[in-house]
Symmetry: C2
């Protein structure tokens, strides 16, 4: 295999990397592509645009040998199959050369490459996925109504409840609630309810408030820190469950996602502390090394048992290096 | 005023009562009418159908002197105004004779008639509203993403989290989680997520699970009882906040809503216990006496300062008697 493409397709954007094995890499970013949100047709068009863009950037008109797509919202086999066929059509490549799997798997490879460990995703939502000696396990990912512990959404919900407690005259009104109400400009319960329930992107609106909670925590507000700690504690249950289910002797954990990346200073020590307490021993926290689209490529090649894996990984670590913004 | 109509318009049905003052009462039930769910036009048509039906049942073709509508989902002055004008048009009555207000106010009057007290609504959602010496206060009603403590929805969420903990292999898996998973026929996390997130009526699907939790609590399952107690405790905060804000010397509380009515045996003693603990003194729990549509009529007349109020209330207590199903 000489020409490969990896794709990270998500609810906010789609990024593709085209790789000439032993040669160059090129990237292209297209629009959102979550089949559960945008629908399969729009998702497949964004994914195809990203793929074709990356090939163009690489200056090649050769058909890729394989296309690996890590996609959010691939909630059933039917959806992943339909996505696969449509992407193949749009890109003009044999459908047998397109592989579609969950974004969790690409995220895992973006931290552990082809190795073992547990990845925790802490973005707008949350979930966890681990591999160990050929076995895989996942936990969490219960969504905003039932789960999403540790996510920006859940931090936002907890914060808005503090604000509402103050506006509703409850005894549980806190310093944090008063400060956040002022900063957000909310003067009544109904203003908060309108903000949450009348927003076209309710989940995003709630999640955006997490930024303020982390700011308040950094200013020394104990209420804000308590919210974050509670969420980290709840999320740690999932990571712990995976490590137990896989019988891991040594727990290596990596975290990805916007919430984690932008709040490394607070989240990394808290996660280490809570996980150590849950597991009763030290955990090793591993940093993300490559971009998720490159993770998709590594995960796909590993699943196919590709012989070129080691060489490709080495190449990707050079051209796809990724770390949280400083 | 000789001919009056009261309406209780909700997300599942609309009930109207037509009353000949000093004479007979007649009822009619029509379809759902929540403007926030069905839209203002459909809501106004259901409400009008209920009104016209009740007048027909009463055997009159006289135009009513006043129509009082207690409606769910009247989230803004614009919506209530639009609803008022449309209902007047459909029914063929002067718009100045139609009054639209929140269902909370009709619920309050269905317990306290024109007197003071705090009503707690415990149905699919939850909220609380009180009156005392001319002042009013409300609390809660934060909706399913931020609140709804004590509601069927919240009990359902807590129950599904127990189920998911078991299916996800978490240490917090409980006897209740195992039993509910079996009773609901859920074998995997993804089955639960599909049930919740792919349902056209997600809120109703989740709320329907509360029935099983109450059954389990009656069988002596401590986990189920704990969920119910937690929700009752959280809801009690709102009632307490209202009583404090209104400076009530003596706290009279009444509860309405399907969850309360069908689970009186468990909820009434728990509510009494938690409220007494919160308030630091005995509370008087008052039963609902008349149907909510008749409550709308009483609340409307009281707000207008009608001189006939006492006589009408006496008549309604006879013809609209309501109590929770035995």
């Amino acid at each position: 295999m000489k020409l490969l493409v990896g794709v990270d397709a998500g609810a906010s954007k789609t990024e593709a990397v085209a790789v000439k094995v032993g040669g160059a890499c090129a990237f292209h970013i297209a629009g959102p592509a979550n089949p559960a949100v945008q629908g399969v047709e729009e998702a497949s068009r964004s994914i195809s645009e990203a793929i074709l863009g990356s090939l163009r950037s690489l200056g090649t008109s050769t058909t890729p040998d394989a296309v690996f797509v890590g996609a959010a919202g691939v909630v059933s086999r039917e959806i992943s199959e339909e996505l696969r066929v449509r992407v193949a059509q749009h890109v003009g490549v044999d459908a047998g050369r397109v592989y579609v799997f969950e974004d969790l798997i690409a995220a895992h490879a973006s931290v552990f490459l082809a190795g073992d460990g547990i990845v925790g995703i802490l973005g707008t939502g949350s979930s966890a996925y681990g591999t160990y000696r050929g076995a895989t396990a996942r936990a969490g990912g219960w969504g905003h109504l039932l789960g999403d512990e540790g996510s920006a959404y859940r931090v936002g919900v907890a914060a808005l409840r503090e604000v509402l407690a103050c506006l509703d005259g409850l005894e549980s009104c806190s310093e944090l609630g008063i400060r956040l109400a002022r900063r957000l400009g909310f003067k009544s319960v109904s203003e908060v309810l309108r903000y949450v329930y009348s927003s076209p992107s309710s989940k995003g609106s709630v999640a955006s408030i997490a930024v303020l909670v982390f700011e308040e925590a950094r200013r020394g507000c104990t209420g804000a820190l308590e919210i974050i700690r509670n969420e980290v504690r709840s999320f740690s249950r999932y990571v712990t469950a995976i490590s137990r289910r896989l019988g891991m002797e040594r727990v290596r954990v990596g975290f990805v996602g916007s919430l984690y990346c932008y709040n490394l200073d607070l989240l990394k020590p808290l996660l280490r502390e809570e996980l150590t307490a849950y597991l009763g021993r030290e955990v090793e926290i591993v940093d993300q090394v490559i971009r998720p689209c490159c993770g998709a490529l590594v995960a796909g090649l590993a699943a196919l048992g590709a012989t070129s894996l080691e060489a490709v990984v080495e190449q990707l670590v050079t051209c796809c290096r990724y770390s949280c913004p400083p």
